[in-house]
């Protein structure tokens, strides 16, 4: 498949996943939390395409509804980290000098601490609700964005067109928005995509460990958490479908990211 086709395929897959989760309340035939004790552990069949779980809840419904939580967490956290990275990196790159050196050393120190460790500790304290999780993921994933923006700003600041704009007295905010930011977005886009994939992964891992989203709320990670015991009971479908969906979603995002890098000439 050509790079372009591959990208289009991945984009359309993501679009479908997003649209289906967005309109989940209209699409799903069952309620995500309605239990039906007479239909416990049913394997995939005509009325329950992906089967039911240990409380008789429809797996397909929970999968679609769960996407809402997982994707919301990932999206908002990514936006948060993007904004923080933009401001931090922007200040560092635009002002430069000693401030830049200090700010970048701080980021380097933060980068050496595995963010999953910080997230685990914080989650353990804050006793997971969705918003605290978004906050923690957002606060621990902006480092690369900041470094990227800073590098782009430093590079662009030296270029002739920025020098000329400064020369004729263009106001700073205009230089930052029109010249620096506008030309760095493309480079940061890929990092943000990978951040998004990473955020999905963090939500899934935390919920899988039982310290993410509260147990009653369906999310892809939560479903995997429960699927551990179900799997031993022989109910393979409860873990398989969320697992596949997570893999394909993250894979699609990563593929878009890496083919964007290739299209730019590979860095």
């Amino acid at each position: 498949m050509s790079t372009h086709k591959k990208q289009m395929f991945c984009w359309s897959f993501l679009l479908v996943v997003f649209l289906v989760t967005l309109f989940s309340s209209y699409l799903t035939p069952y309620d995500a939390n309605t239990m039906n004790m007479s239909e416990v552990y049913e394997s995939p069949n005509g009325s329950h395409l992906f089967g039911t779980d240990h409380l008789g809840r429809d797996v397909l419904t929970r999968l679609i509804q769960g996407g809402k939580v997982t994707l919301t967490v990932a999206t908002v956290a990514t936006i948060l980290s993007f904004i923080i990275g933009l401001i931090y990196g922007g200040i560092s790159g635009y002002l430069g000098g000693v401030l830049d050196t200090v700010m970048m050393r701080i980021v380097e120190v933060l980068l050496t601490i595995p963010s999953i460790l910080i997230i685990l500790v914080c989650q353990a304290f804050m006793q997971g609700n969705i918003w605290s999780m978004i906050l923690i993921i957002g606060l621990t994933s902006w480092y690369t964005t900041a470094r990227m923006i800073r590098t782009e700003f430093l590079k662009l600041n030296q270029m002739e067109f920025v020098q000329m704009a400064k020369m004729i007295g263009t106001p700073s905010w205009k230089i930052i928005l029109d010249h620096l930011l506008r030309n760095s977005i493309q480079a940061v886009f890929v990092v943000t995509l990978f951040n998004f994939a990473g955020a999905i992964f963090v939500e899934v891992s935390l919920s899988f460990l039982g310290i993410g989203v509260p147990p009653a709320v369906p999310s892809w990670g939560n479903m995997l958490y429960h699927a551990q015991s179900d799997f031993i009971a022989g109910a393979w479908w409860i873990g398989l479908f969320p697992g596949l969906l997570i893999i394909f979603t993250v894979l699609a995002i990563n593929m878009i990211g890496s083919s964007s890098i290739k299209a730019k000439g590979g860095q």
Binding site: M159, E160, F161, Q163, M164, A165, K166, M167, I168, G169, T170, D178, H179, R182, N183
Partner: protein
């Protein structure tokens, strides 16, 4: 027009430009020639007041009777916006890659925005046709045009603005011979018709021969020779100038 007096530029312990003094005479075409790294571009940055902060500058630059170093920020902006127009070596990097050219040309030539964009286009259109550019370039992004076309867009701004001083830093080095000729022709026309003072920085002795009234020769950070071009080029005194004159491609005029 511009008088550079004992200009020295240093970084740390090194002196990059040493006691350079020369004149850019009103209404004339002055060229500065010198090899790469001889301090030409730094001198230009000093004239524009755009030197990096960590560089030390001494000496003085007079614009008319006023010292550029004594100007306030606003005065400096208005000097650079209203009196001078600068064409830089790399036409590709002189434009923002993600903004359509029309907007950029508008910002470069109508810094104060006293007129609207459509009026600007109307006034620009005869200049475009003079330079053999179509009006479509305004709708294009810089990467859609060639270096020569972008350089012509820059000149279009200069023709529009009618600055009293046009500074060009190695404007012909990235261009093919035909574009070089066209560029030189336009610059000479600007000088003759509008009386624009031209200050051209180059390392091409043929360009100097072609159009210069005055020549300033820079060698290893110092001005080694300056004066009227016909006299200077016919009887060069410094060994570097001799070498330059002999390196010309055109042996027979």
């Amino acid at each position: 027009m511009l008088e550079i007096k004992e200009l020295s530029i240093g970084l740390d312990e090194q002196h990059i430009v040493k006691h350079a003094s020369f004149l850019i005479k009103h209404g004339k075409i002055s060229t500065m020639i010198g090899e790469s790294g001889s301090g030409k571009s730094l001198t230009l940055l000093a004239i524009l007041g755009m030197l990096p902060k960590e560089m030390r500058v001494s000496g003085d630059i007079l614009f008319g009777v006023r010292s550029l170093f004594g100007m306030s920020v606003e005065e400096l902006h208005s000097f650079r916006r209203d009196e001078v127009f600068v064409i830089l070596q790399d036409a590709f990097n002189s434009f923002n890659p993600s903004v359509r050219l029309g907007k950029q040309l508008f910002a470069l030539s109508e810094g104060k925005r006293t007129i609207g964009y459509s009026t600007f286009l109307e006034r620009m259109s005869p200049i475009f046709s003079r330079l053999h550019l179509s009006n479509d370039v305004c709708e294009k992004y810089p990467f859609e045009l060639s270096g020569g076309m972008l350089q012509r867009c820059m000149i279009a701004c200069a023709l529009y603005k009618k600055p009293s001083l046009l500074i060009a830093d190695e404007p012909t080095s990235g261009l093919d011979l035909y574009s070089q000729k066209a560029f030189i022709k336009t610059v000479v026309e600007m000088n003759r018709e509008m009386g624009t003072t031209i200050f051209l920085i180059t390392h091409d002795i043929d360009v100097v021969k072609e159009l210069a009234d005055e020549v300033i020769v820079m060698f290893q950070g110092a001005v080694v020779e300056s004066g009227k071009s016909d006299i200077l080029l016919n009887s060069p005194k410094h060994s570097y100038t001799k070498q330059l004159v002999n390196s010309s491609f055109r042996m027979v005029e």
